[in-house]
Symmetry: C2
């Protein structure tokens, strides 16, 4: 038995358990951050891999990936960081993080859908993910998605060239949303950490609101928001992330994820806030 | 132990053997076709899968996929056809072939690189290839390559709309190449079947010629041809396909794959034939 630690927020990795690995899941604190001490005590002598999301895809909380990286180095375990939410939005350096593996996905930073990248430390030997041809040094056989790969590269270059000002612009819009919602809508809570969060993400729960209804009525008003991640859309159960940070079923089912982007303006935010207040009031008044 | 038959021309599938499957490899006849009787006697009561290339990617030989399909139905084994070389070029029908699985790749019919399709009979239950999200009904998690998928669909539609005339046009060019080479270049042999072959493929071996040199000098003269498949480019060993159909190392190392396509003209072929004769003579005269 060899142990793998996967730090909360990940769905259960049944396949690994089926293959005979023991997987430890750690729970976050209520703001979504992980307790460093919790990881430290969970790493065993037979732990081979620690997996951590740089930022959660629902509530946007940023994790102390560098501290955990140093810990993994000290303890001699491999370290995988899922930077899907952060690359292109905030600075990400595999050197600073001290990770062995890092994953990212182009459509999260305005690149093409369906192409991503896996960073792997040069010295690491891995069996083939797809065997057959010699592509990717024999690790992943198959003709390359050439247009997608070029698109990913161009998109990340563009994001990095504009990151400083764009990140500031987006986090100002995000803060405007958070401050207004918490001030003007009763019985609303912010999920995730107030400051240690993605510059483009705000996530709330409203009591006495059905989140799916709220998303629908806002959609009809021309506002695109979601309850959570794309992976769970269409499911009726409350998000496992929201339950992990301690929300009740009732609060979790009244949740709303709001993200801003390259083309979001102050006027958009003003309109959104006006519509949100209106719709929450209407739904609660029934 | 459960047996899988993979019909020659495939590279050894070491991963399956490593996972405990017994794999039977069948050898082709010298024209590249498989002996139906050979498959029939190789299918055992514990054979779970028969794999067959619709056409070989080097020598272009077409296989009797329908007959093998009927046999697999009778014997109750699953049947996978790799139609990567044929879709878009000749009619392919999963119904006529009676296959359970069929694979194809967009860049083989002028679609985008890096996207393919797996046809799977509706009633078949398979474990996930990539687990995680619910995409592809849980069989392959991950955000779709939307542009690639649309491109694949449009490319195959275009090919089917023009297949009848394009297939005739290309096979006329192919026949012109084959007839001229066999008539005008001494010690040249055609590899694969004379008629049961892809409309766009001709494949030869020339004695006393180093195929890589021939490809290089033709490239300098503006003609793009290859020795074999992209998967084996850069390797020095003779093709496993050519050895399987009984070529000696010496003949296999003097091989040339010539393909025609949508933009190949009669003038191109005339120029190619002139250059080929010239370069073969020059290389042999050294």
């Amino acid at each position: 038995m060899r142990a793998i630690i996967t730090l909360f927020f990940r769905r259960p990795v049944h396949q690994l358990e089926h293959d005979g690995f023991e997987v430890t899941y750690l729970n976050p604190k209520s703001d979504g951050t992980i307790a460093y001490e919790g990881i430290k005590s969970a790493i065993r002598s037979d732990t081979i891999l620690v997996c951590l999301q740089h930022a959660n895809n629902e509530i946007g909380t940023l994790q102390p990936v560098q501290e955990v990286g140093r810990l993994c180095r000290e303890r001699g375990t491999y370290y995988l960081v899922d930077a899907t939410q952060t690359v292109g939005h905030i600075p990400v350096s595999v050197k600073d993080i001290s990770c062995d593996f890092l994953t990212l996905s182009a459509h999260k930073f305005y690149g093409p859908q369906g192409v991503g990248a896996l960073y792997m430390r040069h010295s690491i030997k891995c069996p083939a993910f797809i065997s057959g041809g010699d592509q990717e040094r024999g690790r992943r056989a198959g003709t390359h998605n050439a247009a997608g790969i070029v698109g990913l590269g161009e998109a990340v270059k563009f994001c990095h060239a504009h990151m400083a000002e764009e990140s500031t612009r987006e986090s100002n819009l995000r803060d405007k949303i958070i401050d207004s919602v918490l001030k003007e809508i009763p019985f609303a809570v912010l999920n995730g950490h107030r400051n240690k969060r993605l510059p483009n993400n705000a996530h709330f729960s409203f009591s006495d609101i059905n989140g799916e209804e709220l998303v629908s009525v806002l959609d009809l008003a021309g506002v695109s928001v979601s309850m959570g991640s794309a992976c769970t859309s269409g499911r009726m159960e409350p998000s496992h992330v929201l339950l992990a940070i301690g929300l009740t079923d009732r609060m979790a089912s009244g949740s709303l994820r709001v993200t801003v982007g390259r083309w979001t303006t102050q006027e958009d935010i003003a309109y959104f806030l006006e519509q949100l207040k209106l719709k929450v009031n209407q739904l609660r008044a029934r």
